[in-house]
């Protein structure tokens, strides 16, 4: 980004502001931004809505944020409830909480703890998912992925059976990648080089190239070795 001086956007309490090019954006409290925002640094603490897209180098959201357009951020750190209408792209992302994306999600590295819903495709280099709730994506493409469930108490187990949305499971159409290490995943097809299917998986079709391991507690429909 160029060196022209831009102003900061600081909002505390309740308010609204217009979009535009800023150096720093800091939203605290309850706020609304009308229009596209581009900034070097975007920080949110509280509840905010952006009626447009966000383009920034570092993106930090703590609380509840709704962005109606796309978000692109080199570094993204998200705690809380994030709702992005368009796509979410960037280099590295850490999520703690629940993330909902209408479009695609693209990162080189993605570490997520919690739940998520990706309407389009989740495409990331390295994916590490720890599920508290449900994870959903139309399809996943990656270099390596690891899916785990957070250990939990018996009380929560009972609650989760009442609310299926809280069942820690990854639901997706297809997962494709080089190194796949899955647990508690429901998918129609899994294709990869080295594939490990762990407990709690229900997968209709597995295609692997070099290595395949399956936990006795996993259900797999068909297994295929490709590239002979």
């Amino acid at each position: 980004m160029d060196n022209q001086p831009y102003g900061d956007l600081n909002m505390s309490g309740v308010g609204s502001a217009g979009g535009g090019r800023y150096r720093r954006v800091k939203l605290e409290g309850v706020g609304k931004v009308n229009g596209n925002v581009s900034a070097d640094d975007f920080r949110l603490n509280g509840v905010s809505t952006v009626r447009g897209s966000v383009e920034t180098k570092s993106f930090f959201a703590n609380g509840k944020l709704k962005v109606e357009g796309d978000v692109s951020a080199d570094q993204a750190e998200m705690d809380g409830l994030i709702d992005v209408g368009g796509s979410l792209t960037g280099h590295e992302a850490v999520l703690n909480g629940y993330l909902k994306i209408g479009g695609d999600c693209e990162f080189e590295r993605l570490r997520a703890a919690g739940g998520f819903e990706v309407g389009g495709m989740l495409n990331a280099g390295f994916v590490d998912i720890a599920l508290y709730g449900q994870g959903k994506a139309r399809e996943i493409g990656c270099e390596s992925i690891r899916v785990r469930k957070i250990p939990k108490s018996r009380w929560k187990e009972a609650l989760r059976n009442l609310f299926p949305r809280w069942r820690p499971e990854l639901l997706t159409g297809t997962i494709e990648g080089d190194d796949l290490d899955l647990e508690h995943t429901v998918a129609s097809a899994v294709r990869g080089n080295r594939v490990t299917i762990g407990p709690g998986c229900r997968i209709e079709r597995v295609e692997y190239r070099t290595e395949y391991r399956k936990h006795p507690g996993a259900k797999v429909g068909k297994e295929w070795r490709t590239g002979e």
């Binding site: 693209e106 080189e108 495409n123 990331a124 280099g125 399809e139 493409g141 990656c142 270099e143 390596s144 159409g173 297809t174 494709e176 990648g177 080089d178 190194d179 129609s188 097809a189 294709r191 990869g192 080089n193 209709e204 079709r205 295609e207 490709t226 590239g227």
Partner: protein, 207 residues
């Protein structure tokens, strides 16, 4: 005209690349989104690619990535028009556009005239169609006018040039990609070429 498609699995087997590489290149926008064509088959949803385009592209990436970083490769492959200009005499000297074309379509310009990338592209496309023997010089003039008027409207989005003839009368169409066009039975498609590919070819010649 149906393009020949290749399934993702066949593509990986044939080229020896992995899913991870394919997705990384997609993230870096080395492979455009439009080439991922989803179709349902008896094994469920499968992704297909336009065979000729994707094979050429993967070949190119594999060749380039040895001495360039992926981001540099992305810069070279992006369909946007570079800010590249060249003098008329250099075009001739480096044999990017043939003499015949330059004389016919730019004969009145003096040798040091500087052409923008767009103009070089138009001349290059005309030149390649002429050299293939598909088109006459008069038709070339019409094509030049058509590209001048309409090509900037695509604003860097991928498009294709269709050159068709019916009962000896020729005409040109620029269509966005991916699109499907159907003609009545008397129409013969003489040439169909992707402008994006032409840009790439030209870029690799110039730079």
């Amino acid at each position: 005209m149906e393009r020949e498609l290749i399934s993702k699995k066949d593509l990986l087997d044939q080229t020896g690349i992995s899913y991870g590489q394919l997705y990384r290149w997609k993230r870096k926008q080395l492979i455009p989104e439009e080439w991922f064509i989803r179709k349902s088959t008896f094994t469920g949803q499968e992704t297909f690619f336009p065979k000729d385009l994707i094979l050429a592209r993967i070949d190119k990436i594999l060749n380039m990535k040895d001495d360039l970083s992926l981001d540099q490769v992305a810069g070279k492959l992006s369909p946007s028009l570079p800010d590249y200009e060249m003098r008329k005499c250099d075009l001739m000297k480096r044999n990017i556009v043939s003499n015949v074309v330059l004389q016919r379509f730019a004969g009145q310009d003096p040798d040091p005239t500087v052409y923008a990338f767009e103009m070089i592209l138009y001349l290059y496309v005309i030149d390649s169609l002429l050299q293939a023997g598909d088109m006459s010089l008069e038709e070339g003039e019409r094509l030049l006018a058509a590209m001048r008027d309409h090509f900037p409207n695509f604003e860097g989005k991928p498009c294709e040039l269709i050159f068709l003839r019916k009962m000896g009368v020729s005409s040109f169409a620029l269509v966005s990609v991916p699109s499907q066009v159907y003609f009545d039975s008397g129409v013969k498609i003489v040439a169909r070429l992707s402008m994006t590919e032409a840009i790439e070819r030209l870029k690799s010649k110039l730079i």
